[in-house]
Symmetry: C2
Subunit: 296 residues, 2 copies
Amino acid sequence: MAAHWIAVDWGTSNLRAWSMGDGEILDHAESPKGMGKLKPEEFEAALVELVTPWLGARTLVLACGMVGARQGWLEAKYRSVPCTPTDPAGLTLVPTHDPRLDVRIAPGLSQDKPADVMRGEETQLAGALALHPNFDGVFCLPGTHSKWVQVSAGEVVSFQTYMTGELFALLSTQSVLRHSLTAEGWDDAAFDEGLSEALSRPDRIAARLFSLRAEGLLHGLTAPQARSRLSGLLIGIELAGAKPYWLGQEVKLIGAEALAASYARALGAQGLKTDRLDATACTLAGLSALYAKLNA
Amino acid sequence: MAAHWIAVDWGTSNLRAWSMGDGEILDHAESPKGMGKLKPEEFEAALVELVTPWLGARTLVLACGMVGARQGWLEAKYRSVPCTPTDPAGLTLVPTHDPRLDVRIAPGLSQDKPADVMRGEETQLAGALALHPNFDGVFCLPGTHSKWVQVSAGEVVSFQTYMTGELFALLSTQSVLRHSLTAEGWDDAAFDEGLSEALSRPDRIAARLFSLRAEGLLHGLTAPQARSRLSGLLIGIELAGAKPYWLGQEVKLIGAEALAASYARALGAQGLKTDRLDATACTLAGLSALYAKLNA
C-alpha cells in the first residue's frame, strides 16, 4: 500500500522510516545504516532499500536528523534562533536518481552566540509543541549530544549542547576506565554520589574521572558502581553548566527511557519536577506538523 | 658488549631500554611493543628481541611503568604515600623462561584518599630528586594521565591524576570534534582563550567542548584554532582542579617538550614560575638510583 508520504528520522547510528497515511501510521521500518556509516552517494540506496514497498509514482519523503549534516547526504540549512523549531520554507530538496523519490531534509537550528547547532532535535521540539501547544519553558533532550532549550511563545529562544553521551561512550569503552566499568549494571547510590560531586565541585571533574580507576584498583569499587558514578559525574557537570536553564523551572525531558529516567532522578535531587515525553512520538509529531504546514 | 644492567621504561605505547655500564649509558634501543599491545605471555619475547645483544650469563633488568599494571606482564606492588618515590624492597621479581634475564619491576605508588595510583612517574620523581636533592615543592608530570605531586623531605606527600592527555586524544580523534580539528598546527591565542574559559568557569566545560564544533560550522573557527582551544580547555580544567597544588608554588614540570611548554605557558599566565626537567633523564636517573640502592 503506497504511503501518502514517508517520515524519516535519519541519525548518526540508525535510519528509521514510517509509511504515513491520512494522519495515521501505515507501516514502520528501520535499518542500522545511520549517517555515520554512509558516504554521500550511498544514502539514496539505503533509503530505497528500506522504503521501496511504500513508494508510489512520486512520494514525498520528509527527513530530519544528521542526514542533513556536512558529513551527511546533503548539507541542509540552519535556521537561526530565535525562531519556530521548524518551517517548511527551510526544507532542502535533495536531488535523487530514483524518480519515485521527492526527498526534503528539515533545516537544523543554529545560535550565533554562544555558537551552537542542532539537527533532529528541532523536529522533536516542534512535535513536543504540537502535542503541548502554548508550553513556555525548558526542554532537555538527553543523548549523545544533550540539548537544553528555552522555548517561549512557540519559538526556540536559546539552546546549549553538552557532549555528555559521547563522553560517556568514549570514556567507558575507549579510555583506561574501560577496565573498571561494565556495559551493564546500575547503582543508584553511586550515581547520586557522582552527580553531587560534579555539581558541587565542577572544577574537580577531571580528577574525579581517574579516581574511578583508582577506587576500583584500591578499594574494590565494583564495575556497576564505577559505571553509575561516571554517569553521575558527567550528568552532574552538564547540570552544573545548564543551571541557568533549569533553575526554578519545570523541565520537559525528551529522550530514551533509561537515560531520561537518570536525568529525571538528577533533576529531582535538585528539587525539580520533570515531565517525560516519548522521543519517537515527538519526532513523528514534528514531521507530521511540517507535512501539514507544507500542504496548508 | 654485555651490560652491567639494563634500564627499561615500559609504558602503554612504547618499550625503551638502555644498556647501562658503570654509571654511563652504553647503548639504547626502543620498540613500539608497549604494554597496551601485549598479552602477559608476550612480554618476555618483546624484551629479549630488543636487548639480546646486551645480555650476559645473567643480567639484571630494572623496569618501570605500565609493564607492572594489572593488564601488564605481572602486577607489581603499590607503595602507599607518604613514602619515598622508590624503594628496592618493593621490586617485583618476574619469573622468566630465558635464564639470562633477571627482571624486576619497580613498584608504583598508591594514595588511599582521594584514591589514586601511579606507575612510572614515581621513577621519574625519584630521578628528579636525585638530580635536585633537597627539593621541596610541587611536580607536574603532564601526559596521558597527568600527575600533580607534592614532595617534601624526599617523600611523596600526596598526588592527583588528571585524564587530560587521554581526553584530548579521544576527543580530537574519536568524537564529533575530529571533523573540526587538525593533527597539526597551533594558535597561542586560542589556547589562552580556552585556558581562561575553563579556569574561570569550570562548570561550563562540557558546553564549551561542543562549541568548538559549532564555532567551526558557523563562525569559521579554523582547525588549528579548534585544536589549540581544546588543549586550553582541558589543561584549564586540570589547573582548576589542581589549584591547591600550584597556588603560590614554583612548579617543576617533567614531560615531553611541546606539552611541557603548553603547561609552562598556562602556569605562567597564572603568574607562576616553572622549571622544566627532561623526562627521559629523570627516568634514567630514577632507575639508576634504584640500582645503586639495590647494590648498596
